[in-house]
Structures are given as structure tokens and as C-alpha cells.
Symmetry: C2
Subunit: 420 residues, 2 copies
Amino acid sequence: MVKIGLLGCGTIGSGVVELLGKEWCQKQQLSIEKILVRNLNKHNSTSYGYKLTNNFEDILKSDIDIVVEVMGGTDPAYFYVKQSLLQGRHVVTANKDLIARHGMELQKIAHQNGVRLLFEASVGGGIPIIKPLSESLAANNITEIRGIVNGTTNFILSRMGNSGRSYETALKEAQQLGYAEASPEADVQGYDAARKLAILSSIAFQESVNYEDIYIEGITNITNDDISLAKYLGYSIKLLALSRRNRHGIMARVSPVMLKNAVPLAQVADVYNAIIVKGDAVGDVLFFGQGAGKLPTASAVVGDIFDIVRHNIGSCSPENSALQDMPLAKVDMADSKSDFFIRLKPTHRFDAMNEVAGQFQRFEFVFPDMVKLGKAIDQNQIIFIAYGVLEKDIQQRIALLKSSGKIESILSIIRMEEEL
Amino acid sequence: MVKIGLLGCGTIGSGVVELLGKEWCQKQQLSIEKILVRNLNKHNSTSYGYKLTNNFEDILKSDIDIVVEVMGGTDPAYFYVKQSLLQGRHVVTANKDLIARHGMELQKIAHQNGVRLLFEASVGGGIPIIKPLSESLAANNITEIRGIVNGTTNFILSRMGNSGRSYETALKEAQQLGYAEASPEADVQGYDAARKLAILSSIAFQESVNYEDIYIEGITNITNDDISLAKYLGYSIKLLALSRRNRHGIMARVSPVMLKNAVPLAQVADVYNAIIVKGDAVGDVLFFGQGAGKLPTASAVVGDIFDIVRHNIGSCSPENSALQDMPLAKVDMADSKSDFFIRLKPTHRFDAMNEVAGQFQRFEFVFPDMVKLGKAIDQNQIIFIAYGVLEKDIQQRIALLKSSGKIESILSIIRMEEEL
């Protein structure tokens, strides 16, 4: 019998209890011995009440083989996971904050103690991505990861796009449906997506990508005007997580982008997630499914538990793992090129257009036909698209535009992707 | 150093040689010791000429750890793989024929001899599917597999749909591009897809699905009229591999279907493959990528090699594997329901429509408006769609229609899927 200690019994934890309770799961000879919760009273009417504890020491005392951490956050999860590994217990976690911040250190501790640390559920919910990326695609030199990895923001943007709801209304709706938290900052400001991108990029590029080095823009400034204009131009706005590696280094960013409607990621709607991995041998491989939720996430957690049971309980020494022994990546996007959709409010229309033309004369750029853009759009604004501009140049050009006196304000700057 | 013996050095084999020759692959301490080919002269100008042999005995004599079988077909591949396993060598194969026919027996032999048999490349080319299905999604009760798993037929149908080419012209084009073989029967008649479906279904349902029990229809009877009519109705014609499990048993079929354009599989074009797995916890998960080709397939083969190196070289006993120890599945689709698009040539139009109405009175059915269907379509035909008809009933009804004397011939019977 393999003994499991569960840290946390919220949405995902109760999903894990549910899956492990199924008859055919029980054949695997797994048993949840102890469940650590903060508030004992909240759970004492459940069928597993007798397994509860609010003292972490009870977990390690109980001869546990696998510690399953589904609390979220890094404090006290980091301490608990570290202690568990140091005491020779395998750990399965769904915690992207923990892995993005401390993954490499924890993997090292796991290896030193002859146990495994698995975290399939930390990215993409139930979608198998960590294992396919680190094992099935291991023969590839991976050059790009791109994905929609945050369901909350994708739901909000989908609602704004389909039904013309404002950002605020769509966010409220997401909160009512349980897709967004009361404090939605981690999702809507892009931090959650950046943590997931850091994990995927580190595995893909075999260099540790610190999520604090990732350029992050959230969706809080996206307006219905942006979405309507994108639609008119044949694009959808998505929060895209993108990283690329070339000879010079790694670029990684999370930001709203306009994606050409024909590309697969543009068609990922609502709370779904999709991740595309580009390998030199395999080309593009896409993984799509439910990126969050009780049972999808529990599916990934229990998959990791089975993995440990099959491969490692017993005498095997642990394999080399996904995040281990890698150098810190140099992450910089200054020399990365993009197309930019820019919307601004002029002090004087004609002067401002001249100023734009002057500042962007080195680049290819167009002013889309404002008349065709429709009457719903405020006509007292200037929209232009600049093609193939370096990130460092766009910052400089925008600064010059702002200081020219011809511009009242910059309304939006959104990257455009035609081929992703 | 891990020693590899390669059986076959055609398209996939040379891809394996290429990938294993890359600098960062060499760090894995892998070495191809021997390469078995039929015709030594064909390869003797290559850089690996000194490793060639045309005698299988040389492979096993050479202290090989992993035998990589990329010859295709079952004779002599079956004998070679069996001998390799019996002599305690791990085997990696890309051979769907071999696994669909002998997978369970070979897995058993592998297990008895303490080695592994891996076959990621046998389905979906470079797309990770065997490992995600058998490991990452192991916590799920899987109820359905559906996919486009044959690139050749998908290319032909895409060309017929996009450019109005005839089946024959599209097939010729596929042959010129190397997507179809000179003898294309295994692809165009659906056998290749059925073998892949048998492998996926056996893993998913944990019952051995014999590919000879799968209902198979190829694409050779699909005409440009069918494709135009599908387009008019908002559907695309695809060769769909579909299996479902419920309490009563398993239904599995490969056939052309009209897929509603909005569903993801309808948008899979050209030689791409996509597979959707439905699990009770995870919901639908989709895997998409290049389903064939030299380097994508070699990517999967080398991924399997790495897997063995990481987990198994040394003292580990092999894990329980994907295809092992399962009962033979009862496969039957008589009690499965579908919608059917039916096109027929009447002897007399009005009588035939009456006859159809009589035969299908128990079912919901419609005659789409022939005028709207356009002048390009021969107006001397009857088209109707019957909804929710059991497979056993459709056969019976069609037989009755044929024997009624009101019908000159049945032009097409194509299943329709709205929600797949």
C-alpha cells in the first residue's frame, strides 16, 4: 500500500480525494493517510474527517510515501515541500508559484534525497504538457513556446469579444462563475501566466527562466474599442505567453496580443488553454484542453501520483528530472521584433499624423482606413500599425511621440502576431 | 555508453541517425552500433557505412541495449522484435502494423524478460500521444477517442475540398509530394487509421481492441459532389477514427464523416493529425501536430530511446506497460447511433422520395433544398439526412430501399457529426 499525505483540501484537494476514491483507482493500492487543513471544523462533517490534521508534523510522522501539495502560494507550501523532500518523501504539487520561484532548488533537494518532485498540474490544468515536453519531446531542440495558459483572462477577453461586455462586467461574470478570484490581480495582470511560462520555458530551453525576468503586461487596459478594431482587422485579442530562444539568448513575455483569426490560438475560447511547442525535429505540436478546474487539475495530480507508484516506489533511484542542474537564463527582449497596433489621441489630427510618419519613417507602417473602422469608434483618434519594430525602438519612438506636444495620450499599444 | 541497434534505415531510420548525431544528443552517451539494412550497396557511401549489416544475427551479437525497429510491416519485423525481447534487449518501434497485430503478445514477452517495448511513433508521428494517454491521463476513465490519424487521406480530402480536384488528381499529387505511397491502399482504404485506432483504444479502454474488429470504410468513394454538398451544409469531410466505450462494450470505426465546420477536428488540414481524448476527469484534451514525416517520427522514436535510458538502463525492473495483460475487447457498432447523409439516384424522383419517406418514417429526416444546393450538382438525385439511426437499422433500411425498385443506385452514405 502506498501512503499519501495531502496538504490542503480546497477545490483541487477535494478533486484528488474524489479521484482516488474511485473503484478502479483503488486497485492501484493507494491510500490517503492524512490530510492537512487550516481549519479542522470546516471539514469535519466529511467522510474523511478522521484523516484530518492541522499540524504538518503529523504528516511526516505518518510514514507517508508521497506528499501531495495542493495548498497554493509559497508560504508555508515551500517549507512543507522542502521538509518532505529532505525527509525522503516524493512530492506531487499543483503549485505554479512554488515551482516558478523554487522549482530548481526543490528538484535538487529531491534528487539529493533519492525522491521525485512532479508538477504536471502546475501548468495547463489537466492538459498533459510537463511530461510530454520534458520526456516525449526530449529529442528536440525547442526554440519556442507559445500559449494561452490563463483561463480567467481568456474567459474575460472572450466575453468582451463575443458580447461587447466591458472589462469590468466580464470580470464580474468570471468571478460569479468561479473562474476569477475575488482578488483577481494575479490573473488579470499576467503574473499567473508568467509563472507558467517560466516553468515551461525552463524545461524547454534547459535554462532556468526566472519569472521576474519575464516582461509582463496584463489585460486591464484592454477596451472594447481595441477588441472591435481587432475584429475589424481580422484579429482576436488574447493574453499570449511567448518565449523564444536563439543564439543570443531567451526572450519571454506575457502580454495581450492581436492574433490573426486563422491561427489556432486565436480560436481558443473561454476558459480553455492551449500550448504550442516548436521543436526542430517535430515542428509545432499543440496541446489543448481545460486549463483549470477541480477534476481536470486533479487528473494531472493523480497522474503524477501513478507515475511515482509505477516508476519509483521501491528500489529505483530517481531519474534526472525536468528542472535540474540548469544555468540561469539571460532573459531580454530588447532585440526582439514585433508588429505594433497603436492607438492615440491627437491634440491636432493632421500634425499628429505627420509626427507619427516622421517618428516611424525608418519602419514600415500603415494608417488603417478610419472610415471603414465604423462609426462606433471615436473618430478623434489615430490608429496606426508599425511592422517589425524592435522592442527597444518602440519604447524610444513612443517616448518621442509623447514629448512632441502633438499627442494628448497613448490609448493602446498592442503587439500583433500573424503567424503564431 | 548505451548501445543501439537500428533495424531499417529508410526515411525514419535516417531521421533517427540524424537526430542521434546532434551534439546535444550525443551528451546522452548513446551510440548506434549496428544498422540492419536489406541492401548494403544502397547505403555504403554514407558516413555510417561501416556500421551496416544485412544479417540480423549481427545485431544481437553486438551487445546492443536497445533495438530500434523502423522497417515497417510485420515480416520479418515481428520475428526480429520478438527475438530481441527474448534476449533481454529493450525495443523501440515506430511500427503500427506490428503493434496493432502483436502488441499485447510482445509487451508480455518484454515484461517476462525485464525489458521495455515502447512505440510512441506508431501513432501520430511526432505528436506525444501514447505516453500522455497511458501515463499522464491514467487517472481518467476514458470513454472516447476521436482523431484524424492518417495524413495521406487528410491531404487528399483537403485538396479535393480547397481546389475542387478529383480524388484521382489529389491522390496523384499526394504521391508526387511523397505523402502517399505508390500502392496507397493501406492509407486510402482506412487500414492504417484502423491500426492506429486499435492501438489508442486498447490503451485508453484497457481492453485489447483487435483492429480486424474495427469497422472500416476508406475515402475512395468520396466524390467532389459529396464535398461540395458537405460544404454547402457547413461541414467538411474527414476520415475520422472514432471509438467509444460504454457499459455495453466498445464501438470503433474508421470512416469518412461530415464534421461540422465549427468543431476543432474539421479544421485539421493537409497532412496534420489531431487526436482528442475524452476522460471523465479531464474532459476533452486535444493533441495536434505533424503525424508523419522523417524528423517528426524520428523525434518520437528518439524520445522513447531517451525514456529507456533515463528510467531503465541498469537495475530497474520495467514498469507495467501500456498494453499489458488486458482482456480481448468485444467490439460491435450495431447499436451505435449516427446521423446519415444519403445520396441516391432514383428511377423516378417522386416515387423514390415517397419510398424514402416510408422507409425512414420512424426516424427524423430531412430533404435539404435541392435548388439551393446549386446548379453544379446533378439535379437528378435525391439527398436526405436521417438523424439518430442505429447502424443495424441503416443497413436494413438501405437494403429495403435498394430492393424497392424505386432506386437506381445509392451514390453515398456518409455519417455526420455535429459535436465531435
